[in-house]
Symmetry: C2
Subunit: 468 residues, 2 copies
């Protein structure tokens, strides 16, 4: 009957797994064609190994997710939860013989409440879809990773993602009030609350945010919203050195300003954007700083920040007059990663975050590392947060250059730790940085984190091989 | 030698414990006089049992805390960590034969960094001391529990405390970036970061915030600071019914306003304050709402909010013209708990938080419960957060009234859960609400929380009998 519609050849183990999954899932929710399942093997990270999934499931209900986890537990099959696979650390990469559990079909916005300022959503809702829906009601969901038009809220929660807004509005974690989670054995657990405050027991909600699917499957989230702020106004400032731009960042933050965005592009990035888009940015620019305010009088804030940039040595300060001009100034920033990708065909995007007072040292050190390895490394940074994305440009067909790219990537992380920073500000650990997590949090930290993982996943079936 | 200075009589078990503690602590840091140790038995909660500590230790260094925990682990002695004991849930109450580990002598502010906007502190620093120190540098540490002049940062972290600021600035948890924690076995673990962002591994920092000393001993904290906002301006609005005041709260929040404070006092509270302080508040006032803004143009914000209050039926709206007038308007709020205490001699302060859209129902239900039990229950609320403190006034010498007080207290929590709220918005679970935690988070939640506790405290020596 149903089984005859499954076309791909299957070995006995997979056959049994698929049969069991079909006991609680409609046939269209169970994908076994290897050509199809192979397309679910990877997220968007470079240098991350992935395996071949046995099956991809696309549940639409909490009960279906519970069914999948019960079967996975019974048969001891690893489960890799996925959103839109826009992640940059390999956290969503399949392992051999796993069930890929894609939450993309659970994509309903269940509630938006303007008095309580919350939204209740399923995990597969795309970030931009939610952002637009709440906007129409005068509300604002701040987290805005670059992939916001594609990435899902579930993925954002799994990777604790950030974005441009964080310098003023913080990261995804700060907007997750409560979760419904399907545990490894298929039981349902609710964490947190839909109230503005609450301290009943341990903060299990935050434990799940950034856990990369290694503790349970998020099937519903209650999110905090803010009132929609006024439209932001942007200022661009050019500097003759990276150090001067970083000095401006420190002056702005020390001066008590609260920009809605404070981004930095280094010389390499400015040049790459110029080469790609002919934007006419002066080639003499060694660093470009973009600041924005979404206050009631953004022009006044921009004037104050512009003066600080000049005091730090800016060669030119260009405040936008309106939203359209602001958008133009942000174009260069938005094109940065595409432009850097065009340099050599492949990029490896790092995500080192340092105390913002050490930003200049990170930029300088990255330039030194690039020189040593004879590589092009462009730095774009959420400068206000000290969160940098040093982006290594390389030819993936050149084994020696690829090796040097990987080495430089690691050296930048080591530098970040030396400067009192973290190996990942917003992209997560996944496969890419698992050796580095131990260096950051130390042996006691790893031991305790593994033990917490053991509480939720005693059989080790939840996204194995990630984080640790 | 040293031992001859210990005066109090001790049995063999306590004697051995004290001897071992003195192996790594100076004699003045080990208190054994029963009259003295008895004074460390309780925090400020009513109706919470407490035991007799075997010894009180007052370490000054991380190494001394590690020593205490090593001895406690070796001898299987329970440890109750304490700050200033201003908590309201019994979380700091001693158990029989325990070591009370007071962190009050570890009270140094180690660093304040205006560029990185962080402070690094020991746990015994008093909230007000830190607040004033950062203020002098143009910075702001928002969490402001009522006890801020006495309570410690370590206690604030242990209980995840809140305050008046939360409606705009959030709770303690949002300001804790990283922790140094001494584990049950004496090992030191660092969590989190000193950067603005970071997602390396599970969020262990947040797990400790609000854990009431049941997972480890916080010995250092890295805290996020904000730029100091402009001085706030306050408005008072009188309403002829609690429902109208709650309607105003909903209109204000739905209207996208971000007050720095939005407090409500019900009729009972207004009357108690009037009786105590003869402030001349009209006896016809059924509810008083206080709103404040610390924006660049607070008068404009107050005007807008005042109009919303009038639309909701306010009988009088009084905006302050300056800081002095604002302070006067806040006096009534600050006196509330003292005034309610004067009604019957004893109070039991609840801490139920509901979605703010349900605030009116909580007020109405509390009045019903007060009537049923023939009790005076005043409600003061952080209305913008839906976080209410229904305060049961009773004569502790009257057993029947005491019983009714306890019953009404529980009924208010049940009502809060019915309305989609939580049993504790900011005071914590401690001893007072441990039966209620299970009702809120359910059996799966309790099981997983206990299992997490087991990871950090396999011997069950960390503040036993709290939370679960």
């Amino acid at each position: 009957m149903i089984m005859s519609r499954i076309e791909a050849p299957r070995d006995d183990v997979t056959g049994n797994l698929v049969d069991r999954l079909l006991g609680g899932l409609p046939v269209e929710a169970v994908l076994v064609d290897p050509d199809v399942t192979a397309s679910y093997a990877n997220d968007m990270a470079s240098f991350c190994p992935s395996g071949t999934p046995a099956v991809v499931v696309l549940p639409r209900t909490v009960e279906q997710v519970q069914h999948v986890m019960r079967i996975a537990t019974e048969l001891r099959v690893p489960v890799v939860p996925q959103g839109a696979r826009t992640g940059l650390s390999g956290a969503a990469n399949a392992s051999d013989g796993c069930i890929v559990l894609s939450l993309t079909k659970m994509d309903r916005i269940l509630e938006i409440n303007p008095v309580d300022r919350i939204a209740v959503v399923e995990p597969g809702v795309v970030n931009a879809t939610l952002s637009r829906a709440v906007n129409e009601l005068g509300l604002y969901y701040p987290p805005d990773p670059s992939s916001w038009e594609m990435c899902t809220i579930g993925g954002n929660i799994g990777t604790a993602s950030g974005g441009l807004c964080c310098v003023k509005y913080g990261v995804t974690a700060e907007y997750v009030l409560g979760l419904d989670v399907v545990l490894a054995d298929g039981r349902l657990m609710s964490t947190g609350r839909r109230t503005a405050k609450g301290v009943a027991g341990y903060d299990m909600t935050r434990l799940f945010v950034g856990s990369e699917g290694s503790l349970g499957i998020v099937v519903q989230a209650t999110l905090a919203l803010r009132p929609k702020p006024p439209e932001q106004l942007v200022l661009a400032a050019e500097f003759a050195s990276g150090a001067a731009a970083c000095d401006a960042v420190c002056r702005i933050m020390e001066g008590g300003h609260v920009p809605s965005l404070l981004e930095l592009m280094d010389r390499t990035t400015v040049k790459a954007v110029n080469d790609l888009a002919h934007m006419g940015l002066p080639e003499t620019t060694e660093a470009l700083l973009l600041a924005a305010f979404d206050t009631t009088d953004p022009a006044a804030d921009l004037a104050a920040v512009g003066a600080l940039c000049e005091a730090a040595g800016a060669s030119q300060v260009v405040p936008a007059d309106d939203a359209a001009e602001s958008e133009l100034l942000l174009q260069a920033r938005r094109l940065s990663l595409t432009a850097l990708e065009a340099v050599k065909g492949t990029t490896m995007i790092d995500d080192v975050c340092v105390p913002r007072s050490r930003l200049g040292e990170l930029l300088e050190g990255t330039e030194r590392i690039a020189g040593k390895h004879q590589l092009t490394i462009g730095v774009v940074a959420h400068a206000g947060d000290g969160n940098t994305h040093p982006t290594v440009c390389f030819d993936a067909a050149d084994p020696d250059e690829s090796r040097r790219a990987r080495e430089s990537f690691d050296e930048i992380m080591a530098l970040g730790l030396e400067l009192g920073g973290t190996i990942t500000g917003e992209h997560g650990v996944g496969v890419l940085k698992k050796e580095w997590l131990a260096r950051e949090i130390g042996p006691v930290g790893v031991e305790m984190q593994r033990a917490v993982k053991g509480v939720f996943d005693p059989l080790g079936i939840l996204n194995p091989g990630k984080l640790f």
